[in-house]
Amino acid sequence: MELTEKLAILAQGAKYDVSCSSSGSNRSNTKGLGNASYSGICHSWTEDGRCVSLLKILFSNICIYDCFYCINGTSNDIPRTSFTPDEVAKLTVEFYRRNYIEGLFLSSAITVDKDYTMEQLVNTVKKLRTDYNFQGYIHLKGIPGADSDLLTKAGRLVDRLSINIELPNRDSLKQLAPDKNGREILTAMKTVRHGIKVYKENKKQLQKNSRSSKPLPSFVPAGQSTQLIVGASNDSDKEILNLTENLYQKIGLKRVFYSAFIPVTNKHNDKLPAIVSPPYQREHRLYQADWLLRFYNFTSTELFSDNNFNLLLELDPKAHYALINLHLFPKEINTASKTELLRIPGVGPKSANRIVKARKHFHLNYQDLKRMGVVLKRARYFITCKGKYYGGVPFKKELIENRLISGPGYKQLSLWGN
């Protein structure tokens, strides 16, 4: 098969793996090609609005598994092919030289068996780093159940390593991906976590013992991430976010990605929940909630009222939190602590910092807030400025909720389309 046809097939196979980041690593080169930009760089955008920063491909789409939600399942009638390590390395380097990409995102179907697949992936990455002297960004997908030595070998070569959890609990996994093993997935994640921990400890030792000149080979400097499919099982958002929280706190993951389930075949319709269209809005709300966990010091349970296990589609999770905790509001902008400011809908970490800084010089007026980056369309209902309330409605849950949802004439645009 011609290279161009292989590329088309194996790019198609990888596109549902939504992670797009190229950030978190400051890899540099002393000779050779490439480096990593710590903030990440977007090189292009697809027609569905997603950022393109890496060459995202499967090594092979010849799979021995048959997961119900996956286009590459063995019972699906699609053209099958594999790259060679050389082909992947050459493509990566030539695209990189032309500044099309920050680096490589390499995943694979399970070809032959788990160890064989992982070996091929490690060989490819090794070739890139040593034969081609490539120091750009590499994100590798780990194969759960493969030999842990292979996983560790990979960790020393790449910037990010991720293992997809796919589904929030063992039952859903058993039902929709009977070939996959939940325990293997968790073990693989823990292996990576262990490798990162050991590296950080060694680094600390080395810094104390400053006479040592040998640089320590890094281990997954940009951290570990994973992906969860949303809408393929009947699991609630509360369960998903609880799992997310554990992944961040107990396994030390850098990112959790959510991917709205898009049915790729009709075959397993009896096992999958009936959906009219992919749950994009739900995915959007989960990302918003994920941000609240990571940057706003929320816990997952705070985002749900006692009888609600799913995030509201019509209202963002932060506004919903404020409404079910209306007794904590309105907050006075000039005296609220930074933690309290972060809880106000429409106030983010940047605005909160600006407010705290500006307050040192003068008392803030309502008009000053817009300049600080506060989204007044949401914040106005939950704050006072010098004691005055600017919400424009009596301070009652139903009235404020109504204003937030239907707005005084504005429509909230969804970042992820409809």
């Binding site: 161009t4 490439g34 903030s39 697809t46 997603r50 099309y100 002297n133 992919p278 010089h361």
Partner: protein, 251 residues
């Protein structure tokens, strides 16, 4: 009433800094600093015109003063704001620096002053375009083996992006060409230089394997859209049409 004096400089950064140094020394309020290219065509009857010759020493000493009395961050911010090429930027920079020398690095929080807002916003605009261009610049391999990347940015960002590529594409020779300003950044794996002398068209012919890789990239790009999530408006939001001209995947 004192007549207005125009300080005319050559359009370069050091030229502007020289003019600003002079303005600080003269301490008159009726000075307008303007570059050669924006010089008024019809001379006003009661205005004075002084040509300022670029003095590298004066310019560098002003930069040193900014670094020590205000901050390095604001030194960079002034440079970025200058690169925005906004007409009248010089006087805003002068005002910003006056306040900076008075109150130090807190000047950037003095948002009640128009010059502070303007400089902060313009430098951010330039910074954003710089970051965008780091991703959108596309190189093509020429027959000589040198990689060539054309661009037409809104702002004069070539000096802001060339160092990034020198570090990254360390083992290949390349040229970045700002086509709207006829400026070049050249790297030969040893040195990085900036020049305005143009390169003849016949030296810019594509390498024989270049089209193959462009086609591979286009093939890749076509195959990664998830059709169920198509959202062209969102794509355009991130990728404004003005950048499509030199994007391999959009041609």
């Amino acid at each position: 009433m004192e007549a207005i004096t125009y300080y005319i400089y050559d359009g370069s950064y050091y030229g502007m800094l020289t003019a600003i140094q002079w303005r600080f020394q003269i301490q008159s309020r009726n000075i307008i600093i303007t570059p050669d290219q924006h010089k008024p065509n019809t001379l006003e009857l009661f205005a004075n015109y002084t040509q300022i010759n670029t003095n590298k020493q004066l310019a560098k000493s002003l930069l040193k003063q900014i670094r020590s009395e205000i901050s390095t961050r604001i030194e960079n911010r002034i440079y970025y704001a200058f690169l925005s090429e906004q007409p009248g930027i010089e006087d805003f920079i002068f005002d910003y620096l006056s306040w900076g020398f008075e109150i130090g690095e807190q000047v950037e929080e003095l948002l009640s002053k128009e010059s502070v807002c303007k400089i902060n916003n313009l430098s951010q605009k330039v910074s954003r375009e710089r970051h965008k261009m780091l991703g959108l610049l596309r190189f093509q391999k020429l027959t000589s083996g040198i990689y060539y990347a054309p661009m037409e940015p809104d702002h004069d960002i070539i000096t802001l992006i060339a160092p990034h590529f020198r570090k990254r594409l360390r083992d290949q020779s390349w040229i970045i060409h700002d086509k709207s300003r006829e400026k070049y950044a050249l790297y030969n794996q040893k040195q990085l230089i900036y020049t305005t002398s143009s390169i003849s068209q016949n030296k810019l012919s594509k390498h024989e394997e270049e089209q193959k890789f462009q086609n591979l990239w286009k093939k890749y790009f076509c195959n990664i859209t998830i059709p169920e999530r198509r959202n062209l408006r969102l794509q355009k939001q991130f990728l404004p049409k003005k950048y499509w001209k030199y994007l391999t995947e959009k041609n």
